[in-house]
Symmetry: C2
Subunit: 152 residues, 2 copies
Amino acid sequence: MINVKGKEHSCPIEVSMNLIAGKWKLLIMWHLLKKTRRFGELQKKITNVTQKMLTQQLRELEADGLVHREVYPIVPPKVEYSLTPFGRSFEPVLNMMIVWGYEYAKRFGEVSYDLSADIEPEYREVVAEKLKDNAQKTSPNETEQEKVTTSI
Amino acid sequence: MINVKGKEHSCPIEVSMNLIAGKWKLLIMWHLLKKTRRFGELQKKITNVTQKMLTQQLRELEADGLVHREVYPIVPPKVEYSLTPFGRSFEPVLNMMIVWGYEYAKRFGEVSYDLSADIEPEYREVVAEKLKDNAQKTSPNETEQEKVTTSI
DNA sequence: CGGTATCCTGTGAGATACTG
DNA sequence: CAGTATCTCACAGGATACCG
């Protein structure tokens, strides 16, 4: 059993899910992983996000200890967002998700985009190997099973 | 640009997010990763999920090509769910999320639970190393910056 | 520039009851 | 056993306007 901020979880997966649930959070963290950015910068990078949503999701990430918000008391205002040390530890997860999403899109969608520049090879290899393994494990076992019984 | 089933994505992260968004999907995949399971089995494993939600999320996973649904035409009905080859390629992502969620819970919550049994050491090491790295990178740089200007 | 403050809407998700 | 079929509602998320 896991308790995080008054919420019960039966598995660490739920913890992760709760932290990254939110339409823009992963995108935000992805952009902050590269460098510290100002609010307006993020808004330009993440097309389609409204000011309200960007603010809201950034505040949630901050409250969860993943993002640091630095306010410079100047005028006009300047606010910089960066990942906390723990936020940066999310990088492997994020990289895996990117690689996996990319592989999914190659298989089930159309991609006009090359991943190689963004992601270190080691992450691609992990997923690639899993896909190879599974191809082997999917042995010739399409023998149908069409029995009909009346009990268990 | 990425197009998956009529939906535009600017980044593979969004693809992954769309696939795993859903309160129970990760938990379902986690249980199916170990073995093929019947509907009722899943319902017992995943406490608190309603029949309706379990059915719904399983159908979405099936439509997305991640889960295979095998119906045995017997009475009483028997339906088995398993991961497709591609669904199984999600394992590295899932493991990373579990490790990361666990580390988060250790830091920001209370855990009465040991991970070691479930997850291969390699995954734990990746996150552990990231956390070490970040500890080093967080150098003594808490010098405040309290200037006030009237222009940029 | 980087926000609040409102108002509004779609839909994810729960509860409950019924069925092949 | 493994589902549908309704009904309901909270809340994530969007549009728009104003502010220090």
